[in-house]
């Protein structure tokens, strides 16, 4: 970590004005004192120590930092932490329960949807947002929904298969629940 990381950790120097934010993070109320310039991605990673959210390009291109903000996929490197005050944020750590993987995670496992894994959390959250809005997407719709997330290993084929796998699984779950 560079010294600048240290400098704007969520516990900044005493002479810097901070704001108290309350965020519902993965269903749990969390409070932090942050400098206004702290980015949401850094609050999640350095402040709350949830390192599943990755920072890749840091220029809103790659989507590795994607989280759900009030249920919608957003790039957390392009939002200030203070803006999340009073809102719900879901990171990849919020997908699985203690005993079970989320169907999207299962899909990535089953269909080999990852190689190095760097883009995977962002991909899974973008996919989760898609499947909530459109439970039965076509392959084109999956590719479209993931077009803001870059992967440099897989060529996307297995990522798309993983999401389609998850869609089927979620459909059969909701059918058996009825």
């Amino acid at each position: 970590m560079s010294s600048l990381y240290e400098e704007i950790r969520p516990e900044p120097a005493s002479d810097v004005p901070v704001r108290r934010v309350t965020i519902t993070l993965n269903g749990e109320k969390r409070v932090a004192e942050v400098e206004p310039r702290l980015l949401l991605a850094h609050l999640i990673r350095q402040g709350f120590r949830l390192t599943g959210t990755h920072t890749g390009c840091d220029t809103s291109n790659c989507g590795a930092c994607t989280v759900l903000f009030d249920g919608k996929a957003i790039k957390s490197c392009t939002m200030l932490a203070v803006q999340a005050d009073g809102h719900e944020v879901t990171t990849v750590e919020g997908l699985a329960t203690a005993s079970e993987l989320h169907p999207v995670q299962e899909g990535f496992k089953d269909e080999h949807g990852l190689q190095c894994g760097f883009c995977t959390p962002g991909m899974m959250l973008a996919a989760t947002a898609l499947l909530r809005e459109n439970p039965d997407p076509t392959e084109d719709e999956v590719r479209w929904a993931l077009s803001g997330n870059l992967c440099r290993c897989t060529g996307y084929q297995n990522i798309v298969k993983s999401v389609l796998w998850a869609a089927k699984k979620l459909q059969s779950q909701s059918a058996s629940a009825e």
Binding site: P36, T59, G63, T66, A73, I74, K75, T78, Q83
Partner: protein, 291 residues
């Protein structure tokens, strides 16, 4: 990358926001979707002393068609809402074509049309679309509201005519007097990249004749290009192979592209021509099919 230090306010009313901007004396900046501003802060191209976050001002969150047919887009209307809007599909063909092409799906969840116009990036898609449609930006400041034609609103690359204590509160697209048709085509190397070339065409027809035509170009000059002459040549005429060709030729002449890593100037001019022909031909094909 980290922004430099700033103070942050998130007022819940427009009046408070304007007061804050006024008190900021030109050192405060409005934060809406943040999809252009936050990267600028991180790159330290912008280093305002204060950010006035308008996301808590609920009265700016709307997309509405008035009884007179005009479309009103509030400062907090996100690209994604435009992309999913049935109003756009029914009445705004040029905007409906552009909405899914803005940035990428995740950026569209946050970014706003009004913010995109304020950012005034020569490669911004919405500025061309709103220019082709003859749209306006409504600004509100301590002395009230004023409405500015988008062509006058953008004063240069990344520059607009807002006073330091004014907020762009909405964009208005005037009602079409005839039957509205149009489209937006964009050439990009990959999703989320800046446009190599973008072309917006918005026409109104009465019977066979074009009654109004707007053509504007993205990414082929130092700012959004209003190819007004190309539009004018269509007015009073039917869309035929010849009239389409002359509009495309004039649009290509209006482009001021530069050779760069996205393509040569000649290539970009050629794409402008091709896109104008393609959009207008699709319109004639669709009308013939409907007839």
């Amino acid at each position: 990358m980290y922004p430099s230090r700033f103070s942050y306010e998130a007022p819940s009313s427009l009046d408070e926001a304007i007061d804050l901007l006024h008190a900021g004396g030109g050192e405060a900046k409005v934060l809406a979707g943040g999809q252009s501003l936050v990267p600028l802060l991180k790159l330290r191209f912008a280093a305002p002393e204060m950010l006035v976050d308008i996301n808590n001002i609920a009265s700016l969150r709307y997309l509405r068609e008035d009884p007179d047919g005009s479309l009103h887009i509030g400062a907090l209307c996100r690209h994604a809402e435009l992309e999913r809007s049935s109003i756009l599909v029914a009445h705004q063909p040029t905007m409906a074509a552009a909405a899914p092409l803005i940035a990428d799906p995740i950026v569209r969840n946050r970014g706003t049309l009004v913010g995109s116009l304020c950012h005034a990036d020569p490669q911004g898609d919405w500025a061309s679309v709103v220019t082709a449609l003859g749209g306006r930006v409504v600004a509100q400041g301590p002395n009230g509201r004023r409405s500015i034609a988008v062509a006058d609103f953008v004063s240069g690359p990344f520059q607009n005519v807002l006073a330091y204590d004014e907020i762009a509160v909405e964009t208005v697209i005037p009602a079409a007097k005839g039957t509205a048709a149009g489209g937006y085509l964009k050439l990009e190397r990959r999703v989320g990249d800046f446009a190599t070339v973008g072309v917006a065409v918005a026409i109104e027809t009465s019977g066979e004749l074009v009654t109004r035509a707007g053509i504007a170009l993205t990414g082929v000059g130092g700012s959004t290009i209003d190819a007004a002459e190309a539009g004018r040549t269509l007015v009073g005429k039917a869309l035929t192979r010849d009239t389409i060709e002359s509009a495309a030729e004039l649009a290509a002449q209006a482009a001021r592209p530069r050779t760069d890593h996205r393509g040569s100037a000649d290539y970009k001019r050629h794409v402008v021509h091709t896109f104008v022909v393609r959009i207008l031909t699709r319109i004639t094909d669709a009308t013939q099919k409907a007839a």
